[in-house]
Symmetry: D2
Subunit: 121 residues, 4 copies
């Protein structure tokens, strides 16, 4: 593998999101672009789990079973978060290695703040 | 309300076992029955937050913003869990005070296991 | 086992701690009295782990290894907390079953608040 | 301070491998070297908090008060962990920017694993 992250976003892409403004080169490079489909799929499964929780409560499921399911959803969300974070950090380093601008140090600071929120949430 | 928890338990129910608590058609003695609507509403809101997460990823939102939102969903789920747990524990004590059977000690043991899962999730 | 918690504290005990004022009967019943030695031992081991952390930093140990050790200490502390909590909850139910006063509902409320702090810490 | 991280690395060190970072007599390139005194001081304070916990248990302190104190120690440990992690990540990026070897990608992978342990602990 040559470079860990390459993003083949078409030039002139429309539909910029807020994130792009953080990227100096305006390439909209997301750390997780490569894995977007996998992340989306996992989030849809989590959405299904939350709907399952609603159904459990609707049907008066035993409280402890609801709690067990909530713990499972939390773990699933954390797994997504950890994967996104890993991609973000790899991306920061890749950006630093590529020496083509960007703000890897600023992104590391943002990542540290996000990690703190995760650890405390 | 005089006592914090009153349950319209049919007279003559002796020695409820945990199994009964799982029955849909049972007496509906859920610790959280009183708050079912509030819990359902919060879960629907959480479902909406998860859908928001899917949309963010779809639109290539900035990774850190996705992480921040995941932390918010985790906290919201924890808040639901803590409320369910508080109701469950109050219910255990109410059951013990009422002295009419049930298995408050068994439920406390279940609750402790659920707390451990929450703390570690 | 007849009753889950009996506390053979001598009457007229001196050296009351703050906790006693919470007990209507002034028996100073601690939920964890039975397990005090085990809890003390675990805390001493945790103290040793923290000293190990200090030594690691002193000797410029690799950052990731320090983090791994911090996670281990956190888990050990959580295990102590979960055990204390389980004892406290069992004690609340025992107190409710014994019908001899006390404030099991108040203690459950305190426990719920403590659980919330643990889950969020 | 111009660059956020400068390491008095001996000239002529090429292609550091991770192994070197573990060597006590190595170059001392710890992400947290700059902050070693502050980290040591915080750990000593945490050690004191754990000893306080032992004393509380010894004196039969109220269970909930012990739990509150455990939560405080956990948060203090997490704060140390988050600071060490931030330094480690900044160090990875600085190393990548300096382009003089090292294995920033490997270190990011290690950091991600450590973050996962922290989030789950």
């Amino acid at each position: 593998m040559g470079r860990p992250h390459t993003y083949d976003r078409p030039a002139g892409v429309i539909g910029n999101t807020r994130g792009e403004y953080r990227s100096r080169k305006g390439t909209g490079m997301r750390g997780y672009t490569d894995k977007k489909d996998a992340v989306s799929k996992r989030l849809r499964r989590i959405e299904g789990q939350v709907r399952g929780l609603e159904r459990m409560v609707e049907e008066d499921a035993y409280c402890i079973d609801v709690l067990t399911q909530i713990s499972a959803v939390n773990r699933a969300l954390q797994a997504v978060a950890l994967e996104l974070l890993d991609d973000h950090l790899s991306h920061c380093v890749a950006e630093a290695l590529s020496q083509d601008g960007g703000d890897p140090e600023g992104k590391i600071a943002e990542a540290s703040a996000a990690i703190a929120r995760l650890v405390r949430s």
